[in-house]
Symmetry: C2
Subunit: 414 residues, 2 copies
Amino acid sequence: MEHSMVNSRDRDLLARANKVVPSGVWGHMATRAIGPGYPQFFSKSDGCRVWDVDGKEYIDFMCAWGPNILGYKRPEVDAAALAEIAKGDINNGPTEVMVELAELFVDTLDYADWALFQKNGTDATTTCVTVARANTGKRKILVARGSYHGAVPWCSPSVVGVTSEDRAHLILFEYNDIQSLDEAVAAAGHDLAGIVLTAFRHDLNRDQEMPEPAFLKHARAICDKTGAALILDDVRAGFRLDVRGSWAMHGIKPDLGAYSKAIANGWPLAAVAGSRRMLEGASKIFTTGSFWYGSAAMAASIKTINILKNTDALPHMQAMGVRLREGLASIAQRHGFVLHQTGPAQMPIMRFENDKELQIANAFCAAALRHGLYLHPKHNMFLSAAHQPADIDRALEGADAAMKDVVSAGFKSM
Amino acid sequence: MEHSMVNSRDRDLLARANKVVPSGVWGHMATRAIGPGYPQFFSKSDGCRVWDVDGKEYIDFMCAWGPNILGYKRPEVDAAALAEIAKGDINNGPTEVMVELAELFVDTLDYADWALFQKNGTDATTTCVTVARANTGKRKILVARGSYHGAVPWCSPSVVGVTSEDRAHLILFEYNDIQSLDEAVAAAGHDLAGIVLTAFRHDLNRDQEMPEPAFLKHARAICDKTGAALILDDVRAGFRLDVRGSWAMHGIKPDLGAYSKAIANGWPLAAVAGSRRMLEGASKIFTTGSFWYGSAAMAASIKTINILKNTDALPHMQAMGVRLREGLASIAQRHGFVLHQTGPAQMPIMRFENDKELQIANAFCAAALRHGLYLHPKHNMFLSAAHQPADIDRALEGADAAMKDVVSAGFKSM
């Protein structure tokens, strides 16, 4: 069947969108930035599956770019949120749910003495920076080159519409590079407010790296010595690696942590958590939003976190990631490709060797779409607790068929 | 009954919150910043009524600080949102609902050729500034002294944790003051990117002012001449005065508009709308958020806007505001006070004459709470379409009783 026939509803919607929305679709979900063949519009989702507007079903490995951690439409989570909506949400102030969620954050994260709630990951990273400055009375913020911390002028990957002053107090360093970090600290002089680090290195289109224990320890020591804030940007990875926080496994406690995406299984929520050391700064700043006290998403978060704590969701998710990774490695090898799969198995990235222009990755992902898999050629992907062995095995059959298509089209590892 | 008995659940929750949340409650909903006697925590809401956690019912005139425009728990709005949640929300991209909502914005607002959607009012104002800079290649943003445009470093009413560079390209002027605006324009020189104005002057603790037609025309002419963006911050007033945009009644079209609060009757959503003139800048910038394509809030917004367009909700809301205003004026007069009630009747502010320290206002609002009214002593309030004549009349009975209490306590107009 012609692609233009198959995707006719998607094309029609995009044509309509192009008339009333800048670029048709903005931001990270614009498929023109992913690769060829991606449907832009979706009609529904359930468990580990998504359906595009033309009715095609996919086993999904993007999880809405992270928010889906327990499975789309997880009934217990949605029921908790809907119960709040039935009471009327939002009100003139918080409900009891806010207190319960803050208590749950403090009980769950290994470094947190307090928490507050917002709507966007960028809200959380911006507030962390503001708290760090308020707490220290200093200005310089150290960020790793290439790390994504949000999409407002101080941190956006784009500089269009951004002024140089928006980033006047940022100093860059290389993730996992102690010498580079030391140079940035030296450049900050007596004006160091904080060091921001993602949970691990999950930058676009490069192999992922776990943080080196020595590097994290060094960053911690710098902050202990100077009073600066060690800020964990856990927006993307938070609660997917470890409910205690993504550095608990490394034995390093940040001073501040930023959360969003998976914390309420798709309901819109973000959070900042912090240690007692940062409480004064956090108490002095002014941060707010019209919907930040909405209880529905908070109730969804309580249920989500409790399921993650009290079930085998995380080890299961990791096991499914390993099953996918091993299967893909074997399929790639059989077809003559070397696949680099890096990072935590539940947040995998796959990169083909000798594929700098992403021609193989794009061809493979486009073929995978036709065979019912939604993958990403250059961004880390996400597993959920809803992925079952049969789903992974079905996905691997699709991946095998897609790899055959790639070989048939003449692609080969160089 | 002792106040400490009446509000025991509220006090207990606040004590718990103080242990795990900076300042217990952050932002604009922290009642310690409003006045004495306010309950902090709510348990439910319905129509034009809210209930605190100790079970006390209030006729509400804050409407969750704006989001409630059709009545808490408006069934048609919630049903539209829940239908999206039943399909699975959020997905890997937008649904058809996004296109429909953008089309509705363009059809409804008198200046809009495009729209995009976000979560916070601050997202929208920040994006407007970024688009203005991207479109003009210039940097200076003119803002009225005392106007609220959000709570991030470039615009927060607090400077704690903010650096001077965050505001390096802001220039202040006085709302409705042509000479002051001209001076700011002169100060911007050839670097003028945009002028930001709230729909009307609705600053904290001062009489509200509608924009002077000559002032708006002057601002429009400056932007026409220089190519700068005239930015309408309609976050607080949007869709409450006029569905066509809050300056349609003045015949002035902005280039960009920021929306949030009431656009989805309490479901979390924000929007930027703009004219074709700003489309290039809007297409070039990068702005995104994890939940910005969530369809539930967008479906709620479609239903909300259509109800506002196709029913008498707005004139009704205004009529209820007039009924409240006239009743309060008469009650105040009867008890020997002069009450200044300014701004649109559906977004009233009330200030007592000779009450600079707000002693009368605070005493009156605290008494009103006891008599079942939720008012605000220094911020504009909000009416909703759910307020009926009987609710206003009941509220006026409570206001009369509250005024009697104020007189009994020895307060009088000086």
